[in-house]
Amino acid sequence: MNRLRSIIAIARTTVIEQIRNRLYLVILFFGGLVLVATALLGALAPGHRTRVIFDLGLVTLELFGLATAIFGAVSLVLQETESKTIYLILTRPVNRSTYILGRFVGLVVAVGCTMLAMAAFHLGVLVWDMEYFREFTEGWSFATVYPMLLLMSMGKMLITAAIALFFSLFATSQVSALVFTASFWIAGHFGPELKFLIEKGSAGGPAATIAKTVASVLPNFQYFNFRDTFQLPGFSGWEFMGTAAIYCMAFTGFFLVLSTLWFSRKEF
């Protein structure tokens, strides 16, 4: 019970800190600005106006969500260690795993709220012209697809935040943690291609084994690719969602456990 209270207290502080952070507000502001810009771009594509706003808006939402998650995760512990604010937390009856969990939960809540706010804004831009919007959604259920797409983006954000948190624990600078996390995020979008290249390019031996191990450690964001799959014949929404949820929890959990193990040995 005390542990849960501590996690909530650390998470609540993280949310307040994030929301009052200037960098966070700047990212949010630019996210809103890009969403407005999608409406202007949409005007340049007559007949596909809503499609452009829909596609570009979702990409913007995901990228800005990821940016806040990565910057937040990388700066949270690293800055706290550098500024020594961590001393006053770790000298209290708080397990180091409690601290990591609290920080992670707080960050995810803060970024989740940002993404929801941006999604609300995006929806506002989309339904601005109801006639175009009705035409665009003809033949598929927007009310089901949009929340699913948002959920999948949040799943990717969760995994990326866990990876960023892990790298921030042993990185000596924010830049190196950012580079490592960004590399994982990029590689995560090319999982199948990477596996294909490894299988094609190597005839076996230790190099192939190492390459395969590396590929299996990298995240595979194909599990979250709802957009390209939901209109395929025989598509099962529950199966897709279940697989994505399990993958997300397992990958996030794995990196949180690694972070906790590393952090429990860290000296200040």
Binding site: N2, R5, S6, I8, A9, I10, R12, T13, I16, E17, R20, N21, S83, K84, T85, Y87, L88, I89, L90, T91, R92, P93, V94, R265, E267, F268
Partner: protein, 250 residues
């Protein structure tokens, strides 16, 4: 008299590897001392003598290479023990965008206080350190002295039995130093045990019951209040003399 803190053969060595070369430096070496219930115990030494390292080892921020730390006879890392410790770091750093009330609510919850008690104690300690007027201001607007007072407030919030104060008068103006001294005296009168590191001899002379002199990570002398009481400047003489005898670079 019962011991609150027992430090037994405590050693800390820092190992660093760079480009295949490993270097080992000494933090503290074979420290043994105890702090008795109800006393003010001072750690005195030059910069880099191992005072802060000792405190960090006691608080679990560093892990000992060998030796052990016991608080109330048990392991220093247990939650029950930590609930009874208040710590003021040399320069207390806080979340810049948070207010003192928000920060104290966090530390109170982490110290396993219930919500109603956190609220009432927050008001009490802010008044005690004379910061109640700034309770809802973001701390990025605070001076070093104000932050030091908030540092003291968070150390006292959960009414700990044992206070660990690392250079508590650093950054305070003369009035703040006097108030801090009065507070330490008052807390000790109320039965609190205080471990106090400083390189301010005059502060230790006025406040401590016993002083351990550290030099180059080693405890070179442990002295009792009777050795300097009623002899102004005596502690300074003892300190310089001890360092000269220990071969410290002066």
């Amino acid at each position: 008299m019962d011991s609150v803190l027992q430090v037994q053969n405590l050693t800390k060595r820092y190992t660093r590897s760079h480009l295949g070369r490993t270097t080992v430096s000494r933090g503290v070496d074979d420290l043994t001392f105890s702090v008795r219930q109800g006393e003010v115990f001072g750690l005195l030494g030059l910069n880099g003598s191992g005072k802060t390292t000792t405190l960090k080892l006691i608080l679990g921020l560093l892990f000992p290479t060998s030796g052990e730390v016991k608080l109330w006879g048990g392991p220093a890392q247990s939650g029950e023990v930590r609930k009874r410790i208040g710590y003021l770091p040399e320069v207390p750093y806080f979340y810049r965008n948070l207010t003192p009330v928000e920060v104290l609510r966090l530390y109170g919850t982490l110290s396993q206080m219930d919500a109603a008690l956190v609220t009432s104690r927050t008001a009490e300690v802010l008044k005690l350190v004379k910061m109640d007027h700034a309770a809802k201001k973001p701390m990025r607007e605070f001076s070093k002295g104000m932050l030091q007072r908030i540092g003291l407030a968070q150390a006292l919030l959960h009414d700990p039995d044992f206070l660990v104060l690392d250079e508590p008068v650093t950054g305070l103006d003369p009035l703040g130093i006097r108030q801090s001294r009065e507070l330490v005296t008052e807390l000790n009168k109320r039965g609190k045990t205080i471990l106090f590191s400083s390189h301010s001899i005059s502060e230790l002379e006025r406040l401590a019951h016993r002083v351990a002199i550290l030099s180059d990570g080693k405890l070179v002398r442990l002295i009792e209040e009777s050795d300097w009481r009623d002899h102004p400047g005596r502690l300074e003489e003892i300190f310089i003399d001890t360092l000269q005898k220990s071969g410290a670079a002066l």
